[in-house]
Structure formats: structure tokens, C-alpha cells
Amino acid sequence: MTYISKPKLRHPHLKTNKFGFTHRDYEGAVSTLCAGCGHDSISAAIIQACFELDLPPHRIAKLSGIGCSSKTPTYFLGNSHGFNSVHGRMPSVLTGANLANRDLIYLGISGDGDSASIGLGQFAHSLRRGVNMVYIVENNGVYGLTKGQFSATSDRGSKSKKGATNRDSAIDMVMLAMELGATYVARGFSGDKAQLVPLIKGAIVHRGAAFIDCISPCIAFNNHPGSTKGFDYVREHNEAVNRLDVMSPRETITVDYQAGEVEEVTQHDGSVLRLRKLSEEYDVHDRVAAMHHLQKSKAAGEIVTGVLHVDREPDDLHANLNTLTAPFNKLTEKELCPGSPALEKFNASHR
């Protein structure tokens, strides 16, 4: 298999955004995933989110690990730099990249094998450091590229395509992210683009560690009866706690809601997350209560989706390290090298 670029032909009246980009400018190469793969829907949602947010495509860096999900950055944002790193280690590469240039938007794409097994450590530590990023796990509960082994997010008791039953309990990435201090946590479903696009937009405008667990059925190996990550199962058990709209700083709000129905959270760039509650009791700002709700729903076999947690005052790694506002990769000898007089002094103090 080699690379297939997409033809440049486009409809002359395609809608453009603020920068004059069309939807097509956010696309990448032709996907080589299986036809109908949930991951392709997530790629489409990322394309739409970036288009709607008027982001210059080259100001985004997309990084991934290894696996089906990690292949997808080739299939969106063709004008962005991409980095397909090693299995389970995308978070460290992304962290380093973020330190070098804080001005770009960092999109980390991973899967459940990549982040819940081999990369669980790096997943955890990147979140607890508060790296400003969008970390998406395309979660299908199965190893696709190696043909159908259970992953660490497979539910206990779920069945593989070959009929084997999973004996180990599942790692819940959302619960982990909440526990580890991610400041924006959401769960989406690749089969619900209307819900997913705003979740991604919200994660992008959030400054801090934003994590999205996106259930994304593997149609080749995990979409059969007995699977808990298939299209039918997820649709039947999906409990959305809210609906999100992301308003850019300049957008006027046109839709009116009843008082108390909508909550607004302003992000550092002035964007507003408008959360329409679907569940009375769910409070996205109360980390402890939210975790409690998630546990209860999980025990009842429900898959909770939506924005699950937003920290009103998020911190990020650069703030914690008190770094310069200018990107490190723009600094020169002038800003970095103390020069020979300082070295003379240093020598003198070591005699």
C-alpha cells in the first residue's frame, strides 16, 4: 500500500470560512482504513471542527502513535505537519513539541491499544502535567491492525468476533482522565457526528489538557452481537448528559433557551462553551460528583456521552513552568547564550 492523494477538483461554490478556506482545505489523503470504519467519521468530524473554527490548517500539529487510529492523521489536515511516532508514545512526543512552540494547536490521535495498554503511562503523565492539547482516543475495544485481539478497554464478558470471552476488566479512559486532572473531558461516539464536532471544537478552544474518549466501532473485528463497542450496542446504551455548542468570540447568540437550561463557560480565547443540559443532576464542574455519576451509569450498563468535565480555571504546562510567551524555536543565540563574559566569571568561581 502506498500513499493516495486526493484529487484537487472541487465544487466552485463550496462554502468558505473566515480565511477563505473551504472544507476541502482541511482534508488529507484518501483513507486506507476499512470502508465504514468509525475512525473515518472522526477524521471527518475533525475536518469540520477545524473548518468551523476558522483555524489556519498549518497552525495545527497532529501527532499519533501506532495502530489504525494512529494512521488517521494522514487522512485529514493535509497542510499540517504530522508525526506518526512509536506505539504508545505519542504523548511524550507531543509534550516535547508543545514545549518547543506553544503557539500551535496540538492534536494527539491515539487508540485504545495505543493509550490504554502500551501507552497507559504516557497517557497518564501527559494529562497530569496539563499539556495544552486535544487528546482523542478512537476507542474500538480491539486491536484492528493485528486482527482482532481484545484491547484493555474491552468490557469484561464481551465477546470477540471469534467467540472468545474477555476475562479482564476494562480500563475506563474517561474515569482515568478525570482522576488524573484533565481539565476538559468528553466522550463521543463516531456514529453521532452532530454531537462529536462540537466536542472536538470545545477541546480545541480549551487551554489545558483536553481528552476525548470517542467510541468508534471496528466494523471488521468488533461490530458483532456480544460486542459492547459495536454500532447497535452503543446506540442502545448511549446516555448523553448534555449537548454542546461552541460559540466563537465574535458570534452573536441567536438561539434562546429557558433560564437554567443552558450553562456557558468562557474559554481563555473568548470562545464560549454553551452546554444544554440533558441530565438534571449532571454538573460538569463538579469532578467528584461527575465521577460518581459515571460510575453509577457504568454499573447500569450505560455509556455516558457529552462534555463530562470542564475546569473553569484550567492550568497548563507552560503556566506551571513559567515559560516565556515566545516560542522556544524562535529564540536565537542572543536570547539563549550567556556569552563569554559570564563564562569568565564562571571560570573564576571555579578556581
Binding site: 500513499y3 508514545r89 516535547g96 518547543a100 516565556l324 539563549l336 571560570n347 578556581r351
Partner: protein
């Protein structure tokens, strides 16, 4: 009594870890330096924080021999646990200095060693009531006594105490008092000075006294590193810690208070090198520092950096391996692990600093090499130079020196229509051009990956594309060959067919060994290798000699392996001299090994006689 040894002896302090002896011992070493006499100190310490034995050895050498010598002329035996072994280590006619508060039976001493007993505990108990003070000042009391015994100018010691405690004024007077207590006691009770004496000289000159890890850390500051990611491991941790300390001093914006650096203590070595690769990919200068086990953990990422061509600077402060091995002892045993790190066909640039001066220089230039060659660069120092203060040439920086950021295409060049292929060999040196992420809205972006690709960074599993890329990587390695630091060659005063090669921290012992062998009439040309891949000078040197000794601090002759493997040399003429017990190599050992080999060579073969 024989003639006194002046400015040429070894004194060793046997202490208990955690007893506060380190700073007193260091003051002692520095006082001799201040008298213009070179010293080479070494900490010999266990993997332990408190309680186990630790030693501090000071080689005093007017001739400037800073390598370990072997043998002890004066043992300061402050640790009852190691008494017997310490006593045995003293050269005949040497001295034993001990705390004579409690009488010891004659069986605890040796007849051929001079005994100097000072009742340290008794003196301190009389003077101090606080138990911690009794312990700490006891160290200063023995230093004071040694000043008298060895004729060290006590004024130099007082000055050093004032400098040391300049921020804690209240400690100056009591330390000086303790110093004098020891000095007076020794002056009154012994015929001072003894047969080992320090005499003022001018052999230190402008040289500085610094450890290699600090020097390397400062080199990273001067070399423009902004991102450091590391995981604690002896003997490299002090490098990262020193970097952070120097950055606080040199890299904090005066107006805004903001930092022009980031140091991350990562969750492990895998994350450390991952962060370095991410930062370097994005155009910052980044490094990690580790030791052997960390290098093993980084293997997969190192292969990615090699194949995807991302700069990375990796310091390996080597220790005794394999596995946890001897974590607080020194070796040069990671050459092969670094030279061929990772799976598949890989090879990497290695630099071998000999002392802190070169640790600084190579650290700074490692970033130039890494960015110029777009590949990982390893700086291989070791515990001996990394964690010990070493007298070395002052650090130098030419203010006109510009960082070599390598081949990077700018926004304007892309805008002007420059052709860009990430893996396109435009200049024929195997090095392609790269762009930083976010440079241009529609040109110059590419996908970085560990999978094979074509010259335009497009995913490809086509055989010819893969081969083309691997061949270019070899051309790049050839480019590295001639651009790295050249070997340093010292020719013998007389023409000789014998050569000797060493690298890294061995150089101190090597210089001493060469002088001694020369004085004995055995002449060898010497080459100190400073980088891998090897340049032509290295091959020429070996070709020009009939027999070449290769002196290494590992079991498996790793440099010799590299030479044979990479340069197609005749292995029969390469004779290994290997030292790998975890102690630093000595001139005595080198002299003995080389002399024996040469003697055997010169011995006439016996005639076969029929039975």
C-alpha cells in the same frame, strides 16, 4: 627516614556515608590547589544514602597527573567498618591517620606504616555538646591536623572556609576554630611536617576545578538547549540538576521573570527521549541525560529519530553494567549499545569527552552536529569525569560563534517557490532539508513517520524507495565522518612501530603512562579518539603502526570492535588493554599491560629441541 615526598602522593579518606565528610574533604583538596599544586580527587561511594562506607581519594601531583594512581600514601581511617582493608591499602613507609580516642590493640596496626593518632572524638566532645556538631566539626578538626602534618598553608584553608560559608556567616568562626584545634594538636604532638609535604608551586595556572556533569550542563546552556527531559539515574542526575540551576541563573528573563527553558522530570527514559524528539522536531534544541539502563529503554525511539531524521542530544554518563551492575562505579561499556542503538540497520554519532573542559565543548557542539546531521548524537562521558571535580583548562566561548541550525527551509524560501522534498538529497551530502511545523500555510508540510517513505515523505513500502533512503542515510553518515572532532595525536620523541589508542576519561592515566614508558625507553605514538564514525586520521594512524594497543574501560573491547567492524582493519595488530573492575583505570595498570606485551614480543622464541 627516607626523603620526604613533596607534591607527589596519594591521600585517601575513609568515611561513613552521610557523616558530612564530603565538604571537609573537598576543602582539603581545594586548599592544595590554591597552593598551586594540581590535585585529582575522586569520590568512591556505594549505592547508598547513609551508613555504608565511602572514600575520597586525593592524588597530589605537581607533574599534573590527574588519573587514579593506585596505592595510598596517607590513609585517613575514619571508618571502623573498613579499617582492616584500608590499613592494607597503605604503601610500605606510608602513613595511617586515625582517631586515637579509644586505644586499639597493636594487632590493628602495621609495622611498616607510620602511625599518626589524633584523639578527634575526645577533642570534639570536650569542645561541643551537640552530637551533630561533634560529628561535623570532627571532620574539620582532622582537616586542620592534616594542614599541620602536610605543611598546607592554613591561611588558604581559612580563606576557603570563608568562601564556602559566605552565605551562612555564622558557620565561619566555628569552622575556623575547629580547624585550628586540629592544627594546634598536630603541631604540638608531632614532628610537623611529616614525610609527605605540600610545597607552594605554580602548576595550576588558569585551570579550573569542575565536574564533568556540571560542565556538560553549562555546555547545554551555551549551546542553546531550551528543553531538557530526563529521568533520575546515577551518575547522570547531577547533569540535569545542574542544567536547571544554571538556567535559573542565565535564562530567566530579567523584565518578565519568565523562563527561556523547560526542564521536565519525565516518568521514565522512554518519555524523556520522546519529549526530546518532539521538541527537536519542532525546532527547539533539546537533550536528555541518562546512563546505560536508560539507553536500553530508549532504543525504539532512537531508531525512530535515526530513520525519521530528527536531531536529539543524548548524554550517557556511563557506569558499570550490565543491568543495575555497579551503579556508582565507572566504566566505558556503552559504546556498542549507543553506536548501534535500536533495531534494524542503524548507526549513530558518538562523542568522547576526556574531561570537563571537553564535556562543555562537546555538549555545546553536540547540538550543532545533531541539527546539521538531523540525527541523534550521543555524548559518552562516565562517572569518573561526570561526578568528580577535575582540574581542567578554563571553559571558552567565542562570542562570534553562531549556532548551526542545519538545513531548515524558511517561510520566505517556500514562498519564493523553493522545491521541497523532506528526504530529497539536494546537496549530495545525504542531508535533506526540513521545515518546522507551522511554517507556511500551503507549502512545506510533511508527515514524519517511522515507516518507510519516498523522497517527498510519502508513505511507501516500495523496495527501491526504501533502499534509496537507506543508502542516503549511509551517505549522511559519511558526511558526519569528516565533520566531527578529530583525534588528538601525540607522537613519541623517537620513531616507533608501536601505537596506543584511548578515549574519554582514560586520557589522564594514559598521559602519565606514556611519560613513564618513555622515561623507561619504551616509545609509543598515542591517539585519543574523540568521535565516531571514525575519520581517515584514525585509520591512517592504525595503518602507520605495526602494533596498536587499545586501552578501554570495558570487558569486551568495544572500541576495538567498532574499529574492526567499521574500518576493515586487521584485528591481529590491535591489542586490547582492558580495565573493567569499576575503579578508574590507572597509569600503573596501563604500564604493566603494555610492558608485559612488549617484553613477550621482544623475548626470543625458544628453539624447539627434540626430546
Amino acid at each position: 627516614m627516607s626523603r620526604p615526598k613533596i607534591n607527589d602522593f596519594v591521600i585517601k579518606f575513609a568515611n561513613v556515608n552521610g557523616s558530612g565528610s564530603a565538604s571537609a574533604n573537598q576543602l582539603f583538596a581545594k586548599s592544595i590547589l590554591r597552593m598551586g599544586v594540581p590535585v585529582g580527587p575522586r569520590n568512591i561511594f556505594p549505592s547508598n544514602i547513609q551508613g555504608l562506607p565511602t572514600w575520597y581519594e586525593v592524588r597530589v601531583s605537581e607533574a599534573g597527573y590527574l588519573g587514579a594512581r593506585g596505592g595510598v600514601d596517607l590513609m585517613v581511617a575514619m571508618n571502623p567498618q573498613t579499617w582492616d582493608k584500608d590499613l592494607l591499602g597503605i604503601e610500605p613507609g606510608g602513613y595511617l591517620f586515625y582517631d586515637s580516642t579509644k586505644a586499639l590493640p597493636p594487632s590493628k596496626f602495621r609495622d611498616d606504616v607510620n602511625i599518626v593518632g589524633v584523639p578527634l572524638t575526645e577533642l570534639c566532645n570536650r569542645e561541643y555538646s551537640d552530637p551533630r556538631q561533634r560529628q561535623l566539626f570532627r571532620n574539620m578538626v582532622y582537616v586542620g591536623a592534616l594542614c599541620a602534618l602536610l605543611a598546607i598553608d592554613i591561611a588558604e584553608m581559612e580563606k576557603l572556609i570563608r568562601e564556602q560559608f559566605s552565605s551562612k556567616d555564622s558557620l565561619i568562626a566555628p569552622n575556623i576554630q575547629a580547624l585550628h584545634m586540629g592544627h594546634s594538636y598536630a603541631s604540638e604532638h608531632f614532628d610537623c611536617p611529616i614525610g609527605l609535604q605540600v610545597r607552594r608551586s605554580d602548576q595550576v595556572g588558569e585551570r579550573i576545578f569542575l565536574d564533568g556533569n556540571s560542565a556538560a550542563a553549562l555546555g547545554c546552556v551555551y549551546g542553546g538547549a531550551t528543553v531538557a527531559a530526563w529521568y533520575p539515574i546515577t551518575p547522570s542526575s547531577s547533569l540535569a540538576e545542574a542544567f536547571e540551576r544554571y538556567c535559573r541563573n542565565y535564562r530567566r528573563d530579567r523584565d518578565t521573570g519568565k523562563n527561556r527553558y523547560a526542564v521536565i522530570q519525565a516518568e521514565d527514559e522512554l518519555a524523556s527521549i520522546g519529549m526530546v524528539i518532539g521538541a527537536s522536531w519542532n525546532g527547539a534544541r533539546a537533550f536528555t541525560c541518562t546512563s546505560g539502563p536508560g539507553i536500553s529503554l530508549m532504543q525504539e525511539f532512537i531508531g525512530l529519530a535515526y530513520f525519521a531524521e530528527i536531531p536529539a542530544v543524548i548524554f550517557d554518563v556511563q557506569r558499570g553494567g550490565p543491568s543495575t551492575g555497579m551503579p556508582t562505579r565507572t566504566q566505558q561499556s556503552d559504546l556498542l549499545a549507543c553506536a548501534y542503538a535500536s533495531h534494524g540497520d542503524t548507526k549513530h554519532v558518538l562523542l568522547f569527552p576526556e574531561d570537563p573542559h571537553e564535556c562543555f565543548e562537546f555538549a555545546a557542539s553536540a547540538f550543532d552536529y545533531a541539527e546539521r546531521l538531523q540525527t541523534p548524537v550521543f555524548v559518552l562521558s562516565d562517572l569518573d569525569i561526570g561526578m568528580n571535580d577535575r582540574l581542567c583548562e578554563p571553559l571558552v566561548w567565542d562570542d562570534s560563534r553562531a549556532y548551526d541550525r542545519g538545513k531548515v527551509v524558511s517561510h520566505d524560501e517556500l514562498e519564493a517557490g523553493a522545491e521541497f522534498g523532506r528526504y530529497l538529497d539536494v546537496d549530495g551530502d545525504g542531508i535533506a532539508y526540513r521545515t518546522y511545523p507551522g511554517t507556511h500555510p500551503s507549502r512545506g508540510s510533511f508527515f514524519t513517520r517511522g515507516t518507510s517513505k519516498d523522497r517527498y515523505a510519502r508513505y511507501s513500502e516500495a523496495g527501491p524507495d526504501y533502499r534509496d533512503n537507506m543508502q542516503r542515510l549511509l551517505r549522511k553518515f559519511d558526511t558526519a565522518r569528516s565533520s566531527l572532532p578529530k583525534p588528538v595525536i601525540r607522537e613519541a620523541p623517537k620513531a616507533t612501530k608501536l601505537g596506543v589508542i584511548c578515549y574519554g576519561s582514560t586520557s589522564a592515566a594514559m598521559t602519565e603512562a606514556l611519560d613513564a614508558l618513555e622515561a623507561d625507553g619504551l616509545h609509543l605514538d598515542h591517539m585519543r579518539i574523540r568521535a565516531f564514525p571514525f575519520c581517515d586520521e584514525v585509520i591512517d594512524f592504525i595503518s602507520d603502526h605495526e602494533r596498536v594497543f587499545i586501552v578501554e574501560q570495558n570487558r569486551d573491547a568495544q572500541l576495538r570492535f567498532l574499529l574492526v567492524n567499521e574500518c576493515a582493519l586487521d584485528p591481529a595488530k590491535l591489542i586490547s588493554v582492558l580495565h573493567y573492575d569499576g575503579t578508574p583505570i590507572t597509569a600503573r595498570y596501563i604500564i604493566q599491560e603494555i610492558s608485559q606485551d612488549v617484553a613477550a614480543l621482544n623475548a626470543k622464541p625458544k628453539k624447539k629441541v627434540a626430546p
